[in-house]
Each structure stands twice: as C-alpha cells, then as structure tokens.
C-alpha cells in the first residue's frame, strides 16, 4: 500500500506520531522536559547553527509539540507548522516575520474581537499598522493595499457571526499585490475548510477551540503552505536576507518551501518566547484524533438548533451560514460543504434585555468566553468579547447589542433545544 493517499481521519489519528523508539509507547509521550542533552560539542554546535535537525530546548522545539505540528500541517496540506502558546501568540509570531515598524497589513473587519484589539492596539504599538477591509466587499481589500502592505489577514469562518469569507477572491487580491494571504482557520478547522486549497499562504489556528476541542488547553499554531516566494524584491528580509542571529544564514535559501515555518521558530518563537507546554500539546493531540467525529456532530447539532431558533417566535433573526436563504449560504456550500461550523449568532425581538435574560435562564449552555468546546456555550458579545469596540464597529463586526452568540457542543441536540426553549419562554 505504498503511496496511497490516506483520508483525513487516518491522518488525524496517525500523522506525525510513531511508536516511541525506546519504550514502544503507542500514545505520544509527554516530553515534559525543558532541555535535551547533546551527543557532543559538535552536535550541540550543529543544532545551534541550524545545521542539524534535533531538539535543544523546549522554547525552540519539543518532541510532543513536533507531533502536533506535523499532524496539523498534514491535515491542512501544508509543508510545515509551528505550535505556540495561544492563537494570539501565533498571530504575533507570523506578523513579526513579515512586518517591520511602519509597515501595513490589510485585515477583514469581521474577526474575533480579541484579534481586532490585538491589531488596533498591541500591534500599532509595534508600528505594524492595520488597514481594515469589509469582509463582504472584495474591492475594499484591494483599496487597502499600499506599497507598505506586507500581508492580508482573514478568518475562514468569522467569529462571532459564523459568516463565510470568499477566500479565493481575497487570495487573488493578495497575490496580485505580491503579498501572502494569512487565514485564521480556527472556527472551520481543516475538516470543514482547507484554506491552502483556496490560495492561503499561511494558516493560523487557535488550537484552544475545535482542534483541541475539550475546553481544557490553550494553544496556537502556524502552518506554512510552502507556496509563497519570499525572495522577490527584498520585501521580506527576515526570510531572504542574511540573518545576523545565525551568522548570516538566509532562511529561504537554506530551508526552501518550509522556510516560513522555520523563520517563525528560530526568529519568532526563539526570541519572543511564547512556547506551548508539552502537556497542552498532548491534550490537543488527543483531541485532534476525534476531530472528524466531533465536527460532524457539532455541525449536525448546530444545523438543528439554528432551524429551531429560526422557527421560534421570540427570535428576530438567525445568522447561520448553513441555513438555506442565509446571506452566506452560497459561500458555505462552496467552501464548507460538510457543514458551516458550530458558532453562530442570533438576535432576539426583545433586544438587549432579552439577550441578558436568555443567558441567565439557560441551564445546560455555559455562559463563558470561549468557543469550540464539547459543551454548548453562550455569550453576549457586545458586553464581553467585543466590548472594547464602539457601537458602529460592534455592528460591523457582527456583534450588535441585540446579538447572542452560541457555540454548539456535542451533547444530544434534543436536550440543547429543550434548554433554549425553556430559557426563551422563561
């Protein structure tokens, strides 16, 4: 069976992992160690000089984390990956490789609220200037491009509204401008959407959500698609120019089509420091083994619940791309034929107060600031995740005052519907 292309579920269980050579352990061991002994002085020097592949110190790499990296790289169809401490850390590390102070990147306005904050405040303090584009208006991405633009950033399925982005159209804008497209694939996971197939050059994840899937571990990850040529026009000196940190090595020349992942590791993670705990990597890996099964159930439940809410007299509107007639249903059919994900919003006829009452009446849904858990979750974005935005920006981000966000878990859908029903009439 040499050279058979294995399916997604096989890769979700096997990619990156192999029985431990020393003990035969079949599950991936947790290499809970800070450091790794060298064979001799020359081996140490080779590792530090990037001349050999191997382990030095867990801030730079760890064998448990490496299994996670290869697994997600395989699921996304990328050349390599790097695991970091959180989704936010992944975004910092990626942009550090691409932008110098004074540079710009264009980002879709429909993003996780925390990312909007990170871009507007933390990144501006680094001199990385975000230019916002309207997710639904492709021309606005093109209008945002300037000679200092170094990347475009979008979410495949956007938080909080669960809206679908036309990845291919944005990729075309990015490539015309000669910059890479970065796609946050957190809410879709590669089971629902593989952004690289649609033109993404870099994929980022908050592993905290569906990939880990059990609400127990923070984690983030960067996938290198291996598609972008960093050597053109001196635009990306971290990749194309001799690096003083490594005695003059040129990263792209040395590492070819996984150079971006290496740059993120040896220039980003090494120097900024947001390393992922191997224990978290282990829990997330265990989660990924059941990703296909969980995503099927998440999507099936989300569809049933969106239909229930759609028919409920207290509900003003339901924004779920999986519903026929939804504004994003055509994009969902194209990009996410297996399901439109399990995070969506709806608005109540009773407005803000009805939203607050609903959240407090629910008994099975947990009121908290996360998505992508086995458990069903609820939140009122306007007063929490998106609270730092002004009212107009909240509406543009899909988080107006009357909006409630759900993240549907893998419980029995009948129980979830019964809980919503009692809470809406309560």
């Amino acid at each position: 069976m040499n050279d058979r292309v294995p399916g997604f579920s096989t890769l979700a269980v096997h990619a990156g992992a192999q029985p431990d050579p020393t003990t035969g352990a079949r599950a991936t061991p947790i290499y809970q160690t800070t450091s790794f002994v060298f064979n001799d002085a020359d081996h140490a020097a080779s590792l530090f000089g990037l001349q050999a592949f191997g382990n030095i110190y867990t801030r730079i790499g760890n064998p448990t984390n490496a299994v996670l990296e290869e697994r997600v790289a395989a699921l996304e169809g990328g050349t390599a990956a790097l695991a970091v401490a959180s989704g936010h850390a992944a975004q910092v590390v990626v942009l550090q490789q691409l932008l110098a102070p004074g540079d710009e990147f264009v980002a879709a306005r429909k993003l996780y609220g925390g990312s909007i904050n990170q871009f507007n405040h933390a990144f501006k303090s680094f001199g990385w200037n975000v230019v916002w584009a309207d997710t639904d208006d492709i021309a606005s991405f093109e209008a945002g491009i300037s000679p200092r633009t170094k990347a475009i950033f979008i979410e495949s399925i956007a938080n909080p509204g669960g809206t679908i982005t036309d990845i291919e159209a944005v990729a075309a804008v990015a490539h015309k401008a000669g910059v890479p497209l970065i796609v946050d694939n957190t809410l879709a996971t590669p089971y629902l959407i593989k952004p690289i197939d649609h033109g993404a050059d870099i994929v980022v994840h908050s592993l905290t959500k569906f990939l880990g899937g059990h609400g127990n571990s923070l984690g983030g990850l960067i996938v290198d698609a291996g598609t972008f040529d960093w050597s053109k026009g001196n635009k990306y000196p971290m990749l194309s120019e001799p690096r003083p940190e490594y005695h003059g090595i040129k990263i792209q020349e040395t590492f070819g089509n996984f150079a971006f992942a290496i740059a993120c590791r040896v220039l980003g993670l090494r120097d900024l420091g947001p390393a992922l705990s191997p224990f978290n990597a282990f829990l997330i890996l265990t989660g990924i083994e059941t990703l296909p099964l969980r995503m099927q159930k998440h999507c099936e439940n989300a569809k049933a619940i969106s239909e229930f809410l759609h028919g409920h007299s207290a509900v003003a509107s339901v924004n779920y791309a999986g519903l026929p007639g939804d504004k994003y249903n055509n994009l969902a059919r194209k990009y996410a034929p297996r399901g439109a994900g399990a995070v969506f919003t709806f608005s109540l006829k009773g407005g803000y107060q009805a939203g607050v009452d609903l959240v407090s009446n629910l008994k099975l849904f947990s009121h908290l600031a996360n998505v992508g858990d086995t458990r069903s979750l609820v939140i009122h974005p306007a007063s929490t995740t998106h609270s730092q935005l002004d009212d107009a920006a909240k509406v543009k981000a899909g988080a107006g005052p009357d909006i409630v966000r759900l993240s549907i878990g893998i419980e029995d859908k009948e129980d979830l519907i019964a809980d919503l029903d009692q809470a809406l009439s309560g």
Partner: protein, 194 residues
Amino acid sequence: MNHDSYPDDYIRGILNGVKSIAMVGASPINVRPSYFAFKYLLQRGYDMIPVNPGHVGKSLLGRPFVGSLAAIGRPIDMVEIFRSSAHIMPVVEEALKLSPLPKVIWMQLGGRDDDAAERAEAAGIRVVMNRCPKIEWGRLSSEISWMGVNSRTISSKRAPLPTQGMRLSLNRMSLGGGATTASDRAAKDRNEVS
C-alpha cells in the same frame, strides 16, 4: 522522469543506494547551504568529496578539496551540483566524461537545467533537480519532523533505536502520492536565471 515531482521511492532508492558523493561547489563557509548539506551527509555515513577549484590544498571537515570531477581519480556514485542553474551544464558535461559514469546527478534546491538533465538521462544517469538531499533524507527518515515539517510519511512500526537522537529509517510509508515537491521555484532553464 518528470522533474516537477518525484516519487518518494525514486528519491529513497537513490539515497539508500549511493555511497560516494562528489559535491561540486562545496563551500568551507559554515553558514552556506552546501556546508550544511555536506556535513549532514557526511554524518549519515556517505563518502563525501568536496569539489571546488578555489580551495584545493584545504579540506572540508577532514575531506581534502579536489579541483574537478576528473581529479577525484576513482569511481563515484553521485555528483551533487551546488551551483545556480546557469552553471549546471558545464558540470554535467564534465560528469559525462567520467569513466565509469556516476549513477546519479543531483542538482541542489533552486538549481534546474532540463537540457542538462536530458543529456545525463540519455547516458543512463538518474537525475534529481531542485531538491536538497539533506531535506529529503530528513523527510524520508522523518527526522525533519523534529522541526515541525510535514514528512508526508506515517508508520505504525516502532522506530529503530535512535542514533544521535534521531529516527533513522528511510523505509516509512509515503503519503499523498509519495511525491517530493521540495520547491517549485527553480528556473527551468539557463535563460530564466536572472
């Protein structure tokens, strides 16, 4: 041979089969990719010969430099060309004068000359272009997985006990059609090189 994408078995067969490798363009500067690859392959047990007329009289990691392929004076299995695409043809012409001929001509990542490849293949020589043998060795053994690289192989077998902290079997199951697409960015002929 389709030089846009190689079956893993082709690359694996070459790396498992050759013993001596003459590296044309080997550099003594320890941050150059050729130095990395030379050292790595030497540590994997290959009989490495650095070829660079500018450094005759010196040696690279204990291996004396020779000035040309002809000056090696003994049969070699593989010629690895660490030169840009524009400088590949003369090296291939030189290799074609060797007796016996080398079994393999390998052009480094970024290096590609389809005419030169055709001439070598007409003489019965296996050709690899635009690939790095260090990366391919690391990938097929999955040792490169330590760096988070997608090896595009899987295995349910216990790995052999590591030497130097690494998984050393090249004989893993290849995925994804088992093709190596290390880089697509090499110019396809000498005229494309800027």
